[in-house]
Amino acid sequence: MAKEIYFEDVAIGTEMPKLVKSPLQKLNHVIYAGASGDFNPLHTDDDFAKAVGMKDGMITHGMLVMGFVGQAVTNWIPKKNLKRFGVRFAGMTKPGNTITVIGKVIDKKSQGGVNLITCEVTAVDETGDVKVTGSFDAALPTKG
């Protein structure tokens, strides 16, 4: 799916294609809980979530939002070129939120025969509220 991207094709400032996900449904939390094995009821049970202080009920697994960011990254840069990927969970995501992932190249260097790019990535909801910030490194092939 991700086409080969060459080191020569990107520059500092090059933007990653924007990914807009469908609005999150409670069902997405249940499916992700089963897939990931994270059955913390904070993510699937409104009564439990309210009892521990979440006034609107269940909140989305942070790792599902990181998964959206990972999708945006590896739909652009082939998974096999990804060397490091890290995020900070900056805000809580809830059912109904529409997550958009954006990113851009912030560094580019060749060292020891490896052509490395570093990109920053951000996931926001429909109001622009930041949910996840992070970065990744990828080693890219050259045309030469």
Partner: protein
């Protein structure tokens, strides 16, 4: 509050046989349409040996093995006050269906911090270095857990 005396402690190894169906299921749960996670043929066409584990797959052995709850309980962290602060992966080679990956969770650091609003928090860093059935390093996972106090 987190037990600060346990910095450096290593826990029982997580061992996990990677199943093709779990790679596909996680991609589907995320809604990632990339066919490499579903079809071996599509993956081979794009230069993989088989369907690779996706970028955030390492959450699966951690959660399904119940390793993280064991660590959190041993560190005396209050689940109700726990937040996932950060997550980071380093990738050394692809993880494929049939691989058996193993890692021991290690408490890399515990630090107390004070938020802007003056609330104290314990910041707990857990690291796992995964090796495969051939003893090759495949990936490192680092989780930052935040316990509000």
């Amino acid at each position: 509050m987190a037990d600060h005396s346990k910095v450096g402690k290593e826990y029982a190894a997580v061992q996990w046989e990677v199943e093709r169906g779990k790679i596909r299921e996680l991609a589907r749960a995320i809604g990632d349409p990339d066919p490499i996670y579903v079809s071996k043929e599509a993956a081979i066409k794009e230069g993989y040996k088989d369907s690779p584990a996706s970028a955030t797959f390492l959450t699966v052995p951690m959660m399904w093995s119940s390793s993280m709850p064991v660590v959190i309980t041993d560190l005396a962290i209050n689940f109700a006050m726990l937040l996932h602060g950060e997550e980071e992966y380093e990738y050394y080679q692809e993880i494929y269906p049939g691989d058996v990956i193993t890692a021991s969770p290690k408490v890399a650091a515990i630090e107390e911090k004070t938020s802007k609003s003056g609330k104290k928090m314990d910041m707990v860093t857990i690291e796992l270095l995964y090796v495969n059935q051939r003893g090759e390093k495949v990936a490192k996972a680092k989780s930052l857990l935040v316990e509000r106090k």
